[in-house]
Symmetry: C2
Subunit: 192 residues, 2 copies
């Protein structure tokens, strides 16, 4: 099961077998049902997750409404980074939208790995580089494109999540209301 994880790490650094053993001993495999909250409101987390299968979102509650800020579906790390790094409670909730298979990495174990495995800093650095580029692209999308263009790009780049995530969550993720997304979809259909 950690095969998938090491296929991922391999894109960044080549861990030795010994490194991998240390990593495996720090990772815990978990399966959780849909609607599980990995991080709850105001919770201070001490764990990072690697999503093997399933679908997860992050959301805020603003004026009683849930505003989705992130959706992910495949191999990748997820966690309340600000809470972990800065040691503060998380304002964001991390919720599984489907049954999920996860690897859990506690912050204490990660910190230990930074000491034991020299490649670990390089690995996480490269992961962060990738995440950063992705975030930058998403942010540019908001600055450059209007909601309709954003929806069309999401449609072309990630048609899969449109099937797996309720539309009202996608709407807030695009920075608009569910009503507005429904109308945008109608507009697009009428054009085509």
């Amino acid at each position: 099961m950690t095969d998938i994880f090491f296929r991922y790490t391999n894109r960044f650094v080549k861990f030795t077998e010994q490194d991998k053993d240390l990593l495996v001993s720090a990772l815990t495999l978990t399966q959780v049902p849909a609607k599980t909250e990995l991080v709850s409101y105001n919770q201070q987390t001490d764990a990072l997750y690697f999503l093997l299968t399933g679908c997860i979102r992050k959301y805020f509650v603003k004026d009683g409404e849930q505003i989705t800020t992130y959706i992910m579906t495949e191999n990748g790390f997820i966690g309340a980074f600000d809470s972990i790094v800065m040691g503060i409670p998380s304002e964001e909730i991390i919720e599984c939208l489907e049954p999920c298979t996860l690897l859990v990495l506690k912050k204490a174990d990660l910190d230990r790995l930074y000491q034991q495995v020299p490649l670990m800093n390089e690995f996480i650095r490269k992961v962060l580089e990738g995440v950063l580029i992705q975030f930058k692209q998403t942010l540019s999308l908001f600055i450059l494109d209007n909601p309709e263009e954003r929806y069309i790009k999401l449609l072309s780049q990630n048609p899969e999540i449109l099937q797996r995530v309720p539309q009202h969550m996608l709407a807030t993720y695009l920075g608009i209301t569910a009503t507005s997304l429904s109308r945008i979809r109608k507009r697009i259909l009428e054009k085509a």
Copy 2:
């Protein structure tokens, strides 16, 4: 002049004097006039910059219009990260809005430092963690808040750049037009 830089690094890791010597030998101090383009359109860059004094923005050109996506004013790294990391030409232009004092770090030198200075990976990892958290906050701002709220937050969190950056650049940075920002400012003035 590198004092300021090491005051910054010190927030993340404690480089030895030997480390610092290696770093200093890799860094080049430059002063450039306003309007200098550190990275031009479609240019493949091989350098990272640390801004000591001055003000810099990143922008895209879309439909003939300049859309500002990032503004920074003080100690921090800036560069076309995607271009450097992925080795592709940059679609974003990086421009100095004021005369700037910069430290230049070539990618080749950075890669060498990763070999020579073990702390370097940790340092950049921690820098990236910080940058990532900042990006996440900015992105949340776009998803959670409307343009007026975004302007008010910018006003409260970074009143300084309102003085240093033309309004039409701030407008696109907030994801709106200059006309709209002018209206928002008027609305706020009338309320108060």
